[in-house]
Amino acid sequence: MSDVLKIKKPVEEGITEFLKYLLEKNKVNGKFSQLLPKYWEAAKNSEVLPSLRPTCTACEHFVPALADIIVSVAGNKNLTEECSLHLNTSKGEELAQGAPGNKTTEKLNDRELSKLKELRQKEREKLFASVKDKNLGLAGMVKTFAPCLSCHGCRQVCPICFCTLCDFDSKTQEDKPSHYESELQQKGGARIPSGTLYFHTGRMIHMAVSCVNCGMCSDVCPVDIPVATLFSMVGESLQKLFDYLPGKDLEEPAPCETFIENEFAGLGE
């Protein structure tokens, strides 16, 4: 048994009001509780909240097209009055059969969704333009990854990097002392650990075509390298080449599983 504070409001509104109260009375501090009401407001009004993670402000695929049930949030003006579950597949319909609530037939609010999509696309252009010259190209990559600790946290949290033992953590990639001796001989110096850029470009080659722009790799990076922005950008250009959107279709084979003779025959000519 415990005391219950009953606020006669729909749950989002109630929570928002309660959080506002806590903030006003200085009962809590911290950005998170301040951001939460703004977060719901922005969702309702199809706006881009600047304090989101960079790759989230630039995410165009915010409607989970493959899901069995889609909870309508983005651009849903009725967010505070009702909770709409769109039964997207027969599995979803089956799950919802007999559940309390009224059943109607509705489409997701296309106008609002495309408004948000447009805004996000603009953000995406801005975001990519901001990293293009600064962070890509050999000089840019060297600078960008200069503070990298080689912790491989970005790989560890990436949903697409699934290998139990990453090649870049394996013995194959460990240098013998003789490697460093010859580096000393030839260049007068060598960075230890070696192969930082090699790891990042290698990881990029392995998985960028399936990068889902989720932002985890940036979130985990202890030295704030915009890993997700870069992977997402390189990923997108690769995905365009293959006319492929990762995670869109269960039946569509991943480009790395598909062999097409004479694919990109023009390359290298």
Binding site: G30, F32, G153, P177, G188, I192, S194
Partner: protein, 366 residues
């Protein structure tokens, strides 16, 4: 015979004093330059500021031009130096005469890695340096200029600034362990406390002695002033450590408080991958053994009513602790390696996180 395969010399009564009119770092780099030019050393391992960026990288160098941006005592610890030495010599001895310039917790990590057969000391000399601490990596990255400045203050006043990492504030092993105990380095650089007129090079082993000899430096200066200062600081820091450990114990005792420390853990294993002591190629907790079948997950979910993902974060932390806490050198790399996500979510002051470092089991230099 010691770990470094060199003979410990009896209590080194004296050191070679080097004038530091243009600053202690310049004075130290001057010595290194001479050592490379005269081929007293074939190469050095030392942190170097990466040009045009706010970051430090470990560089093995023989080209003295690269010394331009080197820093024997950078404001941050990026990659733990013991780990760097292991990267270099894990697969065998190096055939060059090399000295590595490390913070004391890094030399101790190197010694531990040697015992764990992850490092070869042949041809390698350890040069340690009195260390006033390091600025938290996240703070340095957010405000590099401010951090460089406050680190300057830390170096000037030694214990007068609280901008260094928590673990450093309470680090009483910031200098030579003791002058009579087993050597943790071959040559020690004493920053003579709050007088900035000179630095003193203290030979600890025959290897260190040889380096000085080749450089034509005679250990003739008394160490008394330096020793007094070091003892003073050690006393303050040991006391602080005691208090910290006491508070820490109160704050984490009991399963509830202990799990609360890790409640933000996202299982990235960064703490493990940056730890110099966690050397396993494939950590047990990342191995296929720890991935259960879906039936197992269902069974566990049923038994407990719910299952939190990722699974077994506590098992990982307790397991890691029991695997390596005996060799933990209290270097703080695991805290520095945490994703900032911890701070961003809470928006609160960085919380004190689990700190295996505070388990005072390290036998090396009690």
């Amino acid at each position: 015979m010691t770990a470094t395969e060199s003979i410990k010399i009896e209590k080194p009564p004296k050191g070679a004093s080097i004038p530091a009119k243009k600053g202690i770092k310049k004075a130290i780099l001057g010595i290194f330059k001479k050592a490379l030019e005269t081929e007293s050393l074939d190469a050095l391992i030392i942190p170097v500021k990466v040009p045009e960026t706010e970051s430090y990288a470990w560089v093995l160098l023989k080209d003295t031009a690269l010394l331009e941006n080197a820093d024997p005592l950078p404001p941050v610890m990026t990659i733990q130096g013991g780990k760097v030495l292991s990267d270099l010599t894990k697969h065998g001895k190096i055939n060059k005469n090399i000295a590595a310039v490390l913070r004391p917790c890094e030399t101790r990590a190197a010694v531990e890695l040697f015992k764990l057969k992850q490092l070869h000391f042949e041809n390698i000399s350890l040069i340690s340096i009195d260390c006033p601490g390091a600025i938290p990596l996240s703070e340095y990255l957010a405000e590099p200029e401010k951090s460089e400045k406050s680190f300057g203050n830390v170096l000037d006043k030694w214990d007068g600034d609280d901008s260094v990492r928590e673990i450093c504030k309470t680090c009483y092993r910031f200098s030579l362990p003791t002058l009579t105990n087993a050597p943790a380095s071959d040559l020690h650089i004493g920053l003579s406390g709050n007088t900035k007129d000179d630095v003193v090079l203290i030979p600890v082993t025959s290897k260190g002695e040889k380096i000085l000899e080749k450089l034509d430096l005679k250990p003739e200066s008394s160490l008394q002033k330096w020793e007094t200062k070091i003892k003073e600081i050690k006393k303050i820091k040991s006391q602080r450590r005691k208090e910290f450990n006491h508070d820490f114990k109160t704050n984490i005792s009991g399963p509830e408080k202990f799990t609360a420390v890790f409640d933000g853990c996202i299982n990235c294993h960064n703490c493990q991958s940056v730890c110099p002591i966690c050397y396993c190629q494939q950590c047990y907790f990342d191995s296929a053994t720890t991935k259960l079948s879906s039936e197992d997950y269902f069974r566990r979910a049923k038994e407990r009513g719910a299952l939190r993902f990722p699974l077994d974060t506590m098992l990982f932390h307790l397991g890691r602790m029991s695997h390596m806490a005996l060799s933990c050198v209290s270097c703080g790399a695991c805290e520095d390696g945490l994703p900032h996500v911890h701070f961003r979510i809470s928006g609160l002051q960085p919380r004190r996180r689990a700190d295996p470092a505070s388990i005072q089991l390290y036998p090396g230099n009690k």
